[in-house]
């Protein structure tokens, strides 16, 4: 399989990365090189093979459903580019 320019632009949109036409053009070639490289996986017979979900066989650890942390709003917004009264500030999303 290979991708065309329109697909690359659509994927960039899905990934929320702004691309210029020039970027998209270059990425099309690069992505096709990588997709060409991974193509060989199709020759592997995977009939009856389960996809890997966990590399180490183990039951997922669960913790008690209790509050163990919190009260750190100031810490959480400390690195935000814009915040006010412990809220993150973003451009207006509702008209």
């Amino acid at each position: 399989m290979s991708v065309d320019l329109a697909t690359v632009k659509r994927v960039a949109r899905l990934a929320r990365i702004a691309v210029t036409d020039e970027d998209a053009e270059r990425m099309t070639g690069e992505l096709n090189a990588i997709l060409g490289f991974v193509e060989q996986l199709n020759e592997v017979d995977v009939a009856g093979v389960e996809p890997m979900t966990s590399v180490t066989p183990m039951a997922m650890k669960k913790r008690q459903d209790v509050v163990t942390d919190g009260g750190k709003a100031a810490d959480i917004v400390a690195n935000a580019p814009a915040s006010a009264e412990n809220f993150f500030l973003v451009p207006k999303v509702v008209e």
Partner: protein, 522 residues
């Protein structure tokens, strides 16, 4: 006074406890070495002298009271991927500009609890994506090793002495001059490997998703171990591909790597993939005989176009282990060639999900836009470098509607087969597998072939990536120099949670091969 930066961790530990030196003196020696070298090598992106002096002072106070942790007073460098409270933590990406976490990663917290001293944060490929440390926002790291201009006779066995003979990049033959060409230290943990090799820290933390500890270790003549998946907590480490990422140390020798891993590893409730098993005393495994041990040699690792020197090094490793009493057996890992292509689906898929969090809202870089979507798109376009964008794009594509089964599901099935190959070999009684660590020695910065074709760069990880796909432990240990006087490494792969056998066997190789140091030019 002797140069304290030359001491291994084990030696420094003894001298500190014996009150021959102080943590303050040791730390000052490293800070001076970093100050003199970093403009040239670019191994550190931030140096934390105040923090280092404060920690060393506290160590000296504890040592004076006769208390000492496993790493008391030992100065370490920390890869920029580990969250360090109040200190530069940016995964060497522009998108994390100014990020100073309000928390400490479990690994670094473990090190500080054992008395280690932080010197600063080490350079790396952006978000750990790369094999040359050239994708860092902070520029490439320069390998302390250089090619020598004349063909030296460094491979012969006459100098490969018994027991800890130290080879210097220029000390063996006299008529050699170093080439000025700047070489990469490998990646993604290039800063860690270069800093350890150039005596700018006693040891360093690193991470390995497809070879990012072992490949730079091999390129710099240092020892690097990627532990079993789940052995070291991932909490507080910036995530790249969560099912593959694992932290480990880069050190000057096998013993130091064992000492560091003991402190880094732990059982951690904050990481659900952290495995509930006690951490053994890895150092105790050194010196145990390998007599009767079964060492597997996988035929699929003899790849097309592999330089003769790599093959010769491999044969030498086989001979050393045979001489030490190990039994050598030929084995087959039939799905080896599919590990790298499967990796380039699984890793970008996980990365595209993990890196969705960088949106210009909660931390780091924000580029304003007309609306919130344009702000996301512009922030991510400016904040991520080329390689990172490439991988996010591949990941987004293979996970997108209509392609998930063809790519991601197929790759995860192939991954099951890769793991099964290893299980079959270990079930047949093989204790450890010996392979080359990399298909070549260090290459030049801005190598044109690598820059022109991303897949060519990816091939650096051909011998290491299988280990991540199967979640196994792997160690890279220096084993010789190539015709240009550059270090080459061998890799040992073990059963899950059998790091002890890796340290035991790597120590035998180290004893036979000697240790390797670059000639100082910086």
């Amino acid at each position: 006074m002797t140069d304290l930066t030359r001491l291994t961790i084990a030696d420094a530990r003894d001298k500190l406890r014996g009150k021959e030196i102080t943590a303050g003196e040791l730390t000052e020696s490293y800070l001076a070495a970093i100050h003199a070298a970093n403009d040239t090598l670019n191994a550190y992106v931030t140096v934390t002298p105040d923090r280092a002096r404060e920690m060393a002072k506290a160590s000296d106070a504890r040592l004076a009271r006769g208390e000492s942790g496993a790493l008391e007073g030992i100065p370490l460098g920390i890869k920029d991927l580990f969250a360090t409270e109040g200190v530069h933590t940016q995964a060497c990406s522009h998108i994390l500009d100014g990020f100073k976490p309000r928390y400490e990663s479990t690994v670094t917290a473990n090190l500080w609890a054992d008395g280690a001293v932080m010197l600063g944060k080490l350079n790396m490929d952006e978000f750990a994506m790369g094999s040359s440390n050239e994708s860092s926002y902070y520029g490439p790291v320069v390998n302390p090793w250089r090619r020598s201009r004349e063909e030296p006779s460094l491979m012969p066995s006459t100098h490969m002495g018994e027991g800890g003979f130290v080879h210097s990049g220029g000390g063996v033959t006299q008529a050699r001059t170093l080439d000025n060409m700047r070489l990469v230290p490998g990646g993604s943990s290039g800063g860690s490997a270069a800093a350890v090799s150039a005596f700018l820290c006693a040891g360093a933390t690193a991470t390995d998703t497809g070879g990012s500890i072992r490949q730079p270790a091999a390129f710099t003549g240092t020892v690097g171990i990627k532990p079993t998946y789940g052995r070291v907590s991932r909490w507080g480490i910036v995530a790249f591909a969560s099912s593959l990422d694992q932290a480990g140390p880069i050190a000057r020798d096998v013993r130091d790597a064992a000492i560091l891993l003991k402190s880094m590893a732990s059982v951690d409730d904050k990481d659900t993939t952290s495995v509930d098993r006690p951490v053994p005393d890895y150092e105790a495994a050194l010196g145990r005989s390998v007599k009767g041990m079964k060492v597997g040699i996988p035929r699929e690792y003899r790849v097309e176009g592999m330089p003769e020197e790599i093959e010769a090094l491999w044969q030498k490793g086989i001979a050393w282990l045979k001489d030490a009493g190990a039994e050598i057996v030929d084995i087959s890992l039939p799905h080896t060639k599919y590990a790298l292509p499967a990796y380039y689906i699984v890793a970008p898929a996980e990365a595209s999900s993990n890196l969705a969090r960088y949106d210009g809202v909660r931390y780091g870089l924000r580029v304003p836009g007309r609306d919130i979507v344009e702000m996301y798109e512009k922030s991510r376009a400016e904040g991520f470098g080329r390689e990172v964008k490439r991988r996010i794009m591949i990941g987004t594509y293979v996970l997108s509607a209509g392609y998930y089964d063809a790519y991601y599901l197929q790759a995860q099935k192939v991954r099951t087969l890769i793991k099964r190959d290893f299980e079959n070999v270990f079930d047949s009684g093989v204790d450890v597998i010996l392979t080359p660590a990399t298909p070549s020695a260090a290459f030049g910065i801005a190598d044109e072939d690598m820059a022109a074709d991303p897949v060519k760069m990816y091939l650096n990880d051909i011998f290491t990536v299988t280990v991540n796909m199967a979640g196994l432990p792997g160690i890279a240990v220096p084993a010789g120099l190539d015709g240009h006087g550059l270090p080459l490494g061998l890799q040992l792969i073990g059963r899950p949670f059998d790091e002890e056998t890796l340290f035991q066997t790597a120590h035998v190789i180290e004893q036979a091969a000697g240790r390797f140091e670059p000639e100082k030019w910086w």
